[in-house]
Amino acid sequence: MKAKLMQGNEACVQGALKAGMRFFSGYPITPSTEIAELSAVELPKVGGKFIQMEDEIAGISAAIGAALTGVKSMTATSGPGFSLKQESIGYALMAEIPCVVVNVQRGGPSTGLPTAPAQGDIMQSRWGTHGDHSIIALYPSSVRETYDKTIRAFNLAEKFRTPVILLLDEVIGHMREKFFMDENEKIEIIDRIKPTCAPEEYKAYKVLDGEIVPQMPDFGEGYRYHVTGLVHDETGFPSGNEKIAEELVRRLINKIEDNVDDIVEFENYLLDDADILIVSFGASARSSKAAVDRLRNDGYKIGLFRPITIWPSPEKQLLELSKRVKKMIVVEMNAGQYFLEVDRIAHGNTKVEKYGRVNGELITVDEIVSFVKEGQNA
């Protein structure tokens, strides 16, 4: 087992390369820039391509274009750039083009606090693009987990033919911590399913029996299909038919919602006898975990539930927990975004409280402890 000191943004690029990333297009923005910088260094060494585009929109658009030629592609950004990319994220959802969009979050709204941490893009990652859709968003809370979840983001993008959002906290992206890597570790890599039928029999957006998504050939392989952001039928060509529109939008939602058990990952910490439950993710979950340890020493029956997949949310698990505990506290660096989701799922089964801040400071262990003990913001 080898140990290295590694930064979160660096772990993201290393994970992406391990997953097979061969194209990165982006635009410099704090605190994600190291992801572009390291991609620029590493990609040409493995025959991949890096390009710094003229703006954020071009960054994701080029990544989508590249994905159509058969490569795995990624772009990375932060809050303001994530806002700009939303239309193209919707395009990738609608046209079912796999790619990974990393958002190293910072304080907002607007230019906000460029170098300070915040978890304010929880809802933007869910509903940022217009129209009805489902989306996959992963949320690691350590450098090593950033490596693993970047690989998983690529795997899910390929498996479900969809853009996958990887949310990092500024403090995870910029933090350096010990990174253990076993050279012999087996890592699963998933590639998109490609058609085997003759080009004249190929229907670009038809899902074959037993498969989750349509098969996807590379541009240039002889299948000559059409890709559009318009509502389209199974041939890929535009349609204004209401039945086709309903079926398409439902299929795009259901391919994710029907596979929640496969997609959702979470961590349970000291839940067995807990009557108070903290729900937290990313950097906030690290403070929360330390707070749980300290409160346990003081005799509290408290545990932590940490969603690693925040979208789709671990609804089944949270609902079950809401029936068991006396109180749920959602700890997040925002004014209460995931709280809305947890409160919806708990559905009155238990009391759901929120603890958050929006000033660019991390939530500390002390604060959480005193909030649990005294029931108020420190």
Binding site: P44, G65, L68
Partner: protein, 269 residues
């Protein structure tokens, strides 16, 4: 019965097209496939990328690898395709609003990089799809639904714009001179670098009617009567240039192409 050319390069099952009677877009689209036919390119290795607007619907009718993208971003998507797979012939179909307004930034940067993409702008001087709003190429003084008292914006000369930005091949043709346009597109595709062809087309429905430009024939004849070839233009006295415009191959100057430069980096490592 569709012609052999249409049969070979169009997805005839998707016809008829959505364009209005008298629209010039069909002439430009035919010129593109004729240029491809002249060069005998393999359809599997041609990729057509378009944005949003009337002209951008052409991609759905053409039997290549086709990508109908978001408004203004065709060149950004196309850049990803070309850089990732340089062996593909990448052609962008766009309109004046798509390329020069919402997509203006991508246009100048694709030209600056001199990436090997051929861009054909169907310039009808108006937003047709949304019903006749003024675009960056609507002449000053002309009307649109959003310029009811006359357009006070100055209009872009798109060929000058991309020349300043660094395109290596620039031509302007018209739907009157379809044969010339076809040759320009062919030469644009042959150029290893960013090629820009401005195809002046007509929108009788939204531009012509509101601005009292007469019939489809009148509008087409206007393109013939006022076009002056680049070779003649330079010899004309100033007063004879008023109200006229240049056509022909305006600029052709080879320089380093982006994907080739990138491949040199890969080989050097």
């Amino acid at each position: 019965m569709p012609s052999q050319l249409v049969e070979k390069y169009f997805r005839v099952e998707n016809l008829p097209h959505i364009w209005c009677p008298g629209c010039g877009n069909g002439i430009v689209t035919r010129a593109i496939v004729k240029a491809i036919d002249n060069m005998n390119l393999n359809k599997d290795e041609v990729c057509i990328v378009s944005g949003i607007g009337c002209s951008s619907r052409a991609s759905g009718y053409l039997d290549f690898n086709t990508l109908h993208t978001t408004h203004g971003r065709a060149l950004a998507f196309a850049t990803g395709i070309k850089l990732s797979k340089p062996e593909l012939t990448v052609i962008v179909i766009t309109g004046d609003g798509d390329a020069a307004a919402i997509g203006g930034n991508h246009l100048i940067h694709a030209a600056r990089r001199n990436i090997d993409i051929t861009t054909i702008v169907y310039n009808n001087h108006i937003y047709g799809m949304t019903g006749g709003q003024y675009s960056p190429t609507t002449p000053t003084g002309e009307k649109g639904t959003t310029a009811p008292y006359g357009n006070i914006d100055a209009n872009f000369d798109l060929c000058d714009l991309v020349k300043g930005a660094g395109a290596s091949f620039i031509a302007r043709g018209t739907v009157y001179g379809a044969k010339l346009l076809e040759k320009q597109i062919e030469n644009g595709i042959k150029n290893k670098g960013f090629s820009f062809i401005e195809a002046l087309t007509i929108c009788p429905t939204y531009y012509g009617r509101r601005n009292k430009k007469g019939s489809v024939v009148d509008m087409t004849t206007y393109l013939k009567d006022n076009a002056i070839n680049i070779s003649a233009w330079n010899k004309l006295p100033k007063e004879k240039k008023i109200g006229k415009f240049i056509v022909g191959e305006i600029y052709n100057n080879k320089r380093a192409e982006y994907t080739e430069e990138y491949d040199k980096i890969i080989k050097s490592l």
